[in-house]
Symmetry: none
Subunit: 400 residues, 2 copies
């Protein structure tokens, strides 16, 4: 409903929007009474920007719900994460930078080891090296089955992705991974009538794969799970009339951006590289998504000080962005990853929204605690996209 | 949608949650510029807890809506009060501690007086003593009708509850209470086709009751209203994987808890007794609902000072709870009952949510005014359950 409303109001203008996402930015104090990672970090650029911005706290999905990165980013991009679910198979394909088309079916592969009786004895094939994984994927790419194109892409260690492309495929398939040892892999089963043919195709693929892998010492079998069909999603251009670009060092974030019709820009490995990329392509797009990954990685590792350092590194790059003078700048996170929890969490994300027209509040520094008092209040992250568009004067009036 | 989401994420863990509800806690100043009941009360324990907690203001139903205790508690328990409506007949049965089963039909009874022409001359039968009420309920319990079990339970004065149990009963019945004097009781009418048989049963019951009561001086008739069928509700165990217990001195709150599958613990008459019960049963459950009634009663009576005293009495019991070191403590109300209004009101409830992972805010005392600045912001009370579960690390991540 609201989605249709925003779509009907979106208009093309010359203004530019930059959304910077520090993945897992929100945190918790290490010791009660002390500061969070963001409060501990020295962030003169973000603080100065916050003082000119309207701030707030955004819930990624709904209060109390801890999101994965997929649904959390969908929310940030203005797509209801409960409506636009992205399954594990799709995320896996995105994670290897695969260019998914509508109606592709994707799943995760584990290379695994079975014994002479066909029972699984290692679900990870001794975590074979990624290079070995790459070679095996090439071998399996030789399998040709009628009516379907099959793509294999290595991930890390024993993990890979498989993508099926063709007419009338279905993702309603059961896993073959038995999730335990000492039993054979399960046969793939259709979970609905229209999935019968796809199940047959996958069964044939597994048989052929087992033959090809039979000489391998460890990785002599494959286990498949998380089948999903990718249903096309309305793009940024459809919904917001935006020509959007994404800058991200990790494949999954590039993948989600690509699904939404953003152009994925080539960039380097560091945060500084990402900001340089922004400057380089600044004239060619009117919306930029710039993703900083390592705040989350440090949080997951429980590395409080490491996360503080990444936040400071990100802050130090902001002059490059500020010099471009975008009409709208938003800085936030997809979810919190407090180092003390070593995991994603349910806590709301600090949000800073700058524009010439943003009606500033009394927040003077960018932190979880300060943002409580911001003019945006506490709100669902889903509303950030309309707010950015409005501040860029890209939304027309509703009604007369 | 969100209900299904939380259900799909709920997991069993060792952590424990205690929810303390001061019924009708929120208030208003007696004189402009002075404090509310909660601000006036000396609450050192709640204030110290608030300083370590995240606070906020919760709207029971939606902004501006004054709830009854039934829907307000459903919201607190995470059940959308507009979806899970509990009708008056059901509340009446709960109010006499009756153990309702799914598909039972319940209604309220008023003992009333009719004249020789059959016209109602007193809808309350002169407020007969409760003891008389009890005797009459026993008399009427002798009525046996085919295909249905009938239970009668006295409430206070002239009020009682009737419960019908059997196959294929319906609650779609009109009231027999004409709501005015000088006219006869109305015949009960089926409001839908499938209610025809139940209407016949109730009609027969009324005729037999009138015969039995014909010798009574005052209570020579019954008036029925608020027919409801109790449709089973997903329980706390179904929805949250919680083993939950309720501690409440008033039957209605015990009744609602029982509907949701909580074990109702035996307790005494005072707030101190309730906290002792909590300590006594602490090892056996992982969720406790502790209900303090008299804050509301005092508010309804317009007794500002009395309400202040009850709040202070509740606060003084908190060391018993704190010594148990629950993982999550929430303190709030179902609704406000400002003494100056002598009634429930629409004002939001102060909320305090403590856990080791609650990202504290700058709120240092527990009051309506301080909670405005809390990190939870202003939010629908329906979100409190997910927040408690999240803080107890009882919700898994949504998506990857």
């Amino acid at each position: 409903m609201e989605e249709d409303l925003i779509r009907s109001l979106a208009a093309t203008t010359q203004s530019k929007i930059v959304l910077v996402v520090f993945d897992g930015l929100g945190g918790l104090p290490k010791t009660p009474g002390e500061g969070t990672e963001l409060q501990t970090a020295r962030t003169p650029n973000l603080d100065a920007l916050a003082a000119q911005s309207v701030c707030g706290l955004a819930d990624p999905i709904s209060m109390g719900v801890t999101p994965g990165s997929g649904p959390a980013h969908m929310g940030l991009f203005g797509y209801d994460p409960l409506k636009y679910e992205i399954g594990r198979g799709i995320l896996s394909a995105l994670g290897v930078d695969f260019d998914l088309k509508a109606s592709d079916v994707a799943a995760r592969i584990n290379f695994a080891q079975i014994d002479a009786e066909g029972n699984v004895i290692d679900r990870r094939a001794g975590r074979i090296p990624t290079e070995k994984n790459r070679q095996l994927c090439e071998l399996l790419s030789q399998i040709h089955l009628e009516g379907v194109e099959i793509f294999l892409r290595p991930e890390k260690d024993h993990r890979a992705a498989i993508i099926l492309r063709g007419e009338g495929l279905s993702g309603h398939l059961s896993d073959t991974d038995p999730q335990k040892l000492g039993v054979p892999p399960k046969p793939v089963k259709p979970l609905s009538e229209e999935a019968r043919r796809t199940a047959d195709i996958v069964s044939q693929f597994v048989i052929r794969a087992q033959q090809i892998l039979s000489h391998e010492e460890k990785a002599n079998m494959i286990l498949l799970r998380g089948f999903d069909k990718f249903e096309a999603i309305p793009t940024y251009s459809d919904r917001y009339q935006l020509k959007a670009a994404a800058i991200a060092t990790y494949p999954m974030y590039r993948g989600i951006s690509r699904l939404l019709g953003m152009t994925v820009l080539p960039t380097g490995d560091t945060i500084a590289h990402e900001f340089e990329t922004l400057a380089q392509f600044y004239q060619q797009y009117d919306f930029f998504f710039l993703h900083i990954k390592k705040t989350d990685s440090m949080g997951e590792d429980g590395n409080f000080e490491g996360k503080v350092k990444i936040i400071e590194e990100g802050d130090s790059c902001f002059p490059v962005l500020l010099n471009l003078k975008p009409d709208v700048i938003a800085v936030t996170a997809d979810h919190s990853t407090p180092a003390v929890l070593k995991a994603h969490s349910w806590h709301p994300n600090p949000v800073l929204l700058y524009s010439k027209f943003c009606r500033p509040d009394q927040v003077k520094t960018f932190s979880e605690t300060e943002c409580i008092h911001g003019g945006l209040g506490r709100f669902p992250a889903l509303h950030l996209m309309p707010l950015m568009l409005a501040n860029a004067l890209k939304l027309e009036k509703y009604g007369a």
